[in-house]
């Protein structure tokens, strides 16, 4: 860093750039990079490859020379396929006006923030939750209002949580269920409470449902299906998690025409259109890969059972996460500081977990553990953690 850059007054950087903190996981990433023989359970993406049919469709599209831009909103046949696909969650959207294909769900979240948030607006963000919501609020000029969720409610968001945090003043509420990092899900009854709060206080909801297909014990419920919520909700989903297509960078947003239209206007000046090759892969994924997805979900479910059972047995209490591919055990007795525990574990046993506090209020004292790794790695990692605790 030059002297000029370090000096806030004369820096060429914008205030937003200067004030964006580095990700809380960066230090652990750097530590992990130094280690040989590391087992990382800090990975937020599946260890599977995208289903072969989807990859093959991507290759075919390239062989046919389909390398130009698509419509800003995404190919119409993909939007139609998405519209058809989300009917399984009782969602109904018009492919022409209410669906936008984006460069990953992350871009869609950013677009929605910029379309809905004015400088000074407050955005309620339940925590612990995915790291990127806060910065996208800041990039739009808004203020984050953290809303802590609680272990005793299995990290589901409640009316009381919102009320206590002062979320009545918020103009936008972010939801992420099934949740990264806790694996928590919300039932229809629990979502009804949140919907009631949103209606009462005229709050728009951004519901990130990227893990909807990875719900293990019952069916996914979208808040947009609740009465009077479709007009005040944008739903995000994508192909990264359920279809193991993280590198394809393809997501989508579903919402009322005016909001999707505004998001598309921003999108057309920034991304123009989502990657064309990925769009062809996504059409095939939606049309023919349900069986492959079911197999991945079954494998994730077995791993989930395994890791929860082992953590509980070795003395790291772990509530029963029911979605996504994370569990969120508590630090073991004598280790209240999750960062210290994660650092000791990575240095002494070469196992990387992510400290819960980086995901915000309520995450401290926990660790995010991804089970998106093979069973041999999970077993070795749990054995190493157990041996660390015994030696401690």
């Amino acid at each position: 860093m030059t002297a000029r850059e370090s000096d806030g007054e004369s820096s060429p950087l914008s205030r937003r750039a200067r004030e964006t903190p580095p990700s809380g996981i960066r230090r652990f990433f750097e530590l992990a990079e130094e280690m040989d023989d590391l087992i990382s359970l800090g990975v937020g993406e599946p260890d599977f490859s995208a289903p072969w049919a989807a990859r093959s469709a991507a290759i075919d599209s390239l062989e046919r020379g389909r390398t130009s831009y698509t419509a800003n909103r995404g190919r119409r046949d993909l939007r139609e396929a998405i519209g058809e696909h989300v009917r399984r969650y009782d969602l109904s959207y018009d492919p022409d006006e209410e669906i936008l294909v984006s460069t990953g769900a992350s871009e869609a979240v950013d677009l929605a923030m910029r379309a809905l948030v004015d400088p000074g607006d407050t955005v309620a963000v339940p925590q612990p939750s995915y790291l990127s919501y806060g910065p996208t609020v800041s990039f739009a000029g808004g203020e984050v209002l953290p809303v802590g969720t609680r272990l005793e409610n299995e990290f589901a968001l409640t009316y009381e949580d919102l009320d206590r945090a002062g979320a009545a003043s918020a103009s936008v509420l972010v939801l992420c269920y099934p949740n990264n990092p806790t694996g928590a899900v919300m039932t229809r009854k629990q979502l009804r409470e949140v919907a009631e709060f949103a209606r009462e206080h005229d709050i728009f909801v951004l519901s990130d449902e990227i893990y909807a297909a990875l719900r293990y014990e019952d069916d996914h419920v979208s808040i947009a299906t609740l009465p009077e919520m479709a007009d005040r909700t944008v739903v995000f989903n994508g192909f990264s998690k359920a279809y193991a297509m993280t590198g394809m960078r393809l997501g989508y947003a579903l919402g009322p025409p005016n909001v999707i239209g505004a998001m598309n206007r921003i999108h057309q000046y920034t991304m123009l259109s989502a990657p064309t090759t990925a769009q062809y892969a996504a059409i095939e994924a939606l049309e023919s890969c349900d069986d492959a997805i079911a197999e991945m979900r079954q494998a994730f479910n077995r791993r989930r059972n395994f890791v929860i059972s082992r953590f509980n047995d070795i003395g790291m209490d772990c509530f029963e996460a029911k979605g996504a591919f994370y569990v969120f055990p508590e630090c073991p007795p004598g280790w209240e500081d999750d960062e210290a525990f994660a650092e000791a574990l990575i240095r002494e046993e070469r196992v990387a977990l992510v400290p819960g506090r980086v995901f915000g209020e309520g995450g401290g004292g926990h660790l995010r553990v991804s089970y998106a790794s093979g069973m041999p790695e999970l077993k070795t990692a749990l054995d190493r953690i157990e041996s660390f605790l015994r030696a401690d």
């Binding site: 990079e33 990975v43 077995r302 791993r303 082992r310 992510v354």
Partner: protein, 162 residues
């Protein structure tokens, strides 16, 4: 039935997995897993447990051939009769009746190509019902019973990601 199917899936991917680990993955207890395995074995659904070996990694000679076999049946002799006779040879590691241009697919193993050739010509071909043998020596195995023998792709995911 569902529980047995799930158990078989796990054993197919790793038959050495401990009963306790299998139980954790299936959300049940070790005693239940043991009971299910006992049932599957006594029903004859599980016929054995074997390692999947990459012989190229073992420092000894090992040759395998896939032999196509055509046979001629008569009133007295059925496929099963011929199969029973061929299956008794220890050199035969698998034997299947198949559809298509030949009748039996036979896997034969030996210490050398000469061994395998001699076995086919001296033990299989002379069986009265056998009308033709075609021997294909295995040059390289890339995948065996679902296990890929390549070096495997490195995990290039970020060690820590959001």
């Amino acid at each position: 039935m569902e529980a047995k199917r799930e158990l078989l899936d796990l054993l197919l991917s790793d038959a050495r997995e401990s009963t306790e680990d299998i139980a954790r993955q299936l959300g049940t207890d070790a005693a239940t897993v043991e009971a299910l395995v006992d049932e599957l074995e006594s029903e004859g659904a599980i016929r054995g447990y074997q390692a999947v070996v990459d012989w190229d990694e073992v420092d000894e000679s090992h040759v395998r051939a896939e032999v196509e076999l055509n046979v001629e049946l008569d009133r007295e002799t059925k496929y099963r009769d011929i199969a029973t006779r061929i299956a008794k040879f220890p050199e035969v590691s698998s034997l299947r009746l198949v559809s298509g241009s030949f009748d039996f697919a036979v896997d034969v193993e030996g210490e050398s190509m000469h061994d395998v050739s001699r076995f086919v010509s001296e033990q299989i071909a002379p069986i009265p019902e056998v009308t033709q043998t075609v021997t294909h020596f295995v040059m390289t195995t890339y995948k065996e019973r679902g296990v890929y023998f390549g070096d495997g792709d490195d995990d290039d995911r970020l060690a820590i990601s959001p």
